[in-house]
Every structure is written in C-alpha cells, then in structure tokens.
Symmetry: C2
Subunit: 206 residues, 2 copies
C-alpha cells in the first residue's frame, strides 16, 4: 500500500460540522498557498481555522486526505470552466476552433492560480492524485474528440498527436506567461501569439 487512504473518516451531518469542514478546507488552502506542502502542518491548519487539531482529524484521516479534498474541488471547477469555454463557440471554422481551445486553456488558469501552482508542483507525488490532477489528459481528450467530430477521416493516431501538440503548447504557453508576464493574460498578447503559432499547424495537419 503506497498511498494512504483519502476517504473521509466521518461524514459531517449537522450544519455545524459542515461549516467546520468548510472552514478547515479554506484554512488549508490559505496555508498551502502561503507555505507550500511541506511547511503546511495539520496543527497550523487547525489553528488558522480556529478549530482544534482533533476536529480536523475527525473528518480527514490524514494530511494527504486534506489536500486531496482541496485538489478534488479545484479540479472540478477547472473542468467546468474548460467545458464552458469549449461549448460557447461551436462554430466550425478551424480558426475559431483553435481560438476556443486557447481560451479554454487560459480560462482554466484563471481559477485560483496560486493554489493551482502548489497543487501541480508539489502534490503530484501524492498517490492517486497525480492522474486526476492531470488536466492535460482531460483537455487533450476533449480536443481529440472534437477533432474526430470535425474530421472523421483523420487517422486516430494522427488525431491523438495533433491533440497532444495543441494541448501541450497551449498549456505551456499559458503557464509560462503567468510566471513570466502575468499582464500578457489580460492584454491578450499570449492569446494572439498562440493563435499565430497553432492555426497554421492545425490547418496543415488536417
């Protein structure tokens, strides 16, 4: 057994305890963002949340479960955003398709970037979370699916490769922009540059 169980020890049934759990999660996010995973101690989280350490362990069997719960909620929100961004523009021009993908990637990165950073950079070693935190794969599969709808004649191997390239570059450029020049997200500079890069590739690949 490599990773510990992350299933809750007890389910909060009363309103009071549900509030406690919410408070703990909120505090955990704060501490995690401020200190990183290693320097996040369960005692500190409890203190920050204004509950006793015992209460924390009433609902989370261990530290990993706490982070896992946080990550799970974050992922749900991310995927919702991506779905939203992809569905809004259902027009059929390649240009708008690429544009929608880029916007989806950018949107996803606007959901609590600080927490995202910690989760991505430090949490992957937590068993079981690595895969589910992997937005990459989720987005890639959506792209692959979209490709197949638009061009059924495309060989599956080819579709997978194109999806991988599109997803990888969008993700990487967005992430890089955030780290290097957060302004670029607002000015749309990155969006434009990504379009410049990916549209010709996409057109040529079809």
């Amino acid at each position: 057994m490599r990773g510990k169980s992350t299933t809750p020890r007890k389910l909060p049934t009363q309103t009071r305890s549900r509030q406690t759990v919410a408070t703990i999660l909120e505090a955990a996010a704060q501490v995690l963002m401020r200190n990183g995973y290693d320097r996040t101690t369960t005692n500190l989280v409890a203190e920050k949340a204004g509950v006793s350490i015992g209460s924390l362990y009433e609902y989370f069997p261990n530290k990993e479960a706490l982070v896992a719960a946080l990550a799970s909620a974050h992922i749900d929100e991310l995927i919702a955003r991506i779905d939203n961004a992809l569905q809004i523009s259902e027009e059929e021009t390649p240009s708008s398709f690429v544009g929608a993908l880029i916007r989806a990637g950018l949107d996803a990165h606007r959901v609590n970037p600080a927490l995202h950073k910690v989760l991505v950079e430090q949490v992957p070693r937590i068993g079981g979370l690595a895969e589910s935190l992997d937005i990459q794969t989720v987005l890639q599969q959506k792209i692959e699916h979209g490709l197949h709808e638009r061009s059924p004649h495309l060989p599956p191997t080819r579709a997978r490769m194109i999806a991988l390239v599109l997803e990888t570059c969008i993700e990487a450029l967005t992430h890089r922009a955030i780290v290097e020049k957060p302004d670029w997200l607002e000015t749309g500079e990155i969006e434009a540059e990504a379009q410049l890069l990916l549209e010709p590739y996409f057109q040529g690949a079809l």
Copy 2:
C-alpha cells in the same frame, strides 16, 4: 535568511576524501531518483554510499547542500550539451535553425532524465536553486541571441517573444513526450512534429 547555506563545510584535499565525496554524490542521486526529495534521508544516503553519516556532514553542511551540489553538476552538463547542439549546425536556413533548436532541447533531456525530473519537480523550492535550474531562461537567451544575429532588424520585443514561444514549446513537447511515449524520442516522431509546428511560425514571424 530563507535558505540555508549550501557552501561546503570543508574541502576534500586528499584523494581518499575526494573519492568519498564522489561516492556520496552518486548515492545521493540514486536515492533521490528512487525515493524523491522528501523520502531521501541523509542517513540513507550515507548508508547507501557505505560511509558514516558523520562523513557526509563533514563535507555537506546540510541536506540541501547535498542536493544543490548534485543539481549544479547536472546543470553544467545540460548547458554544455545545449551549446554543443547549437554550435554544430551553423548553417543559415531557417529550417536548419529550428531543427538545431529542437535537437538541442531533445539532447538536453537525454542527460539523466530521472534525476532531472526529481530536480525540476521537487527541488525548486530550495532557495537559490530555482533560478539556476531554470534551463528555460538559458536556452531562451541563446535563441534570442541567435535571432538577433540572423535578423538584426527584428524589434527586440518581438525577438524575445519568438524566443519564448520557441523555447516553451520545444521544452514542453519534449517533456511531454518523455512522460507519455519515451519511444518518440528515439523514432524522431516528436522531432518531426515539432519542426512541422515551429518552422511555419518561425518563417512567418521573421
């Protein structure tokens, strides 16, 4: 003072001690790759190296210094490889320039990938190492420099953006390929796909 000092406590002067240091570093790399940073204990490294824990602390003031020494050596090798790959092909066609960049990125990733992974994913939080481990910036600056030589008329802002895009995508695609399908590095599939993506962008951007 955020990070601890990583300067050696004592320099090994005799041959015996230099051998000891080498053995310790080798063992550290092994343990780091197998266990990750957190599960790497100094005692375990010493044991694996066949020296006492006291000897380890004779030359490395703390755990971070040990990892820092390892990272430093790794970085030197990486940069040497990149320089090499870039200098070999000094021909002037845009196609070969892009090809050389891609090959440089791929080559860099062939230097002890397992160690690289650990260092990149888990070590950045070690103060001072984050920047120097940042191959990104090194490669980007080399690209920027190359661009300026080839096209002096190009506005500096534009050159920086192009370099950023090229570097980011090469790095990301290579990294992704390693994780997803290590074979692609050998078959040249990734190399070809990257060329397909980046050459039109590069030509259009000039």
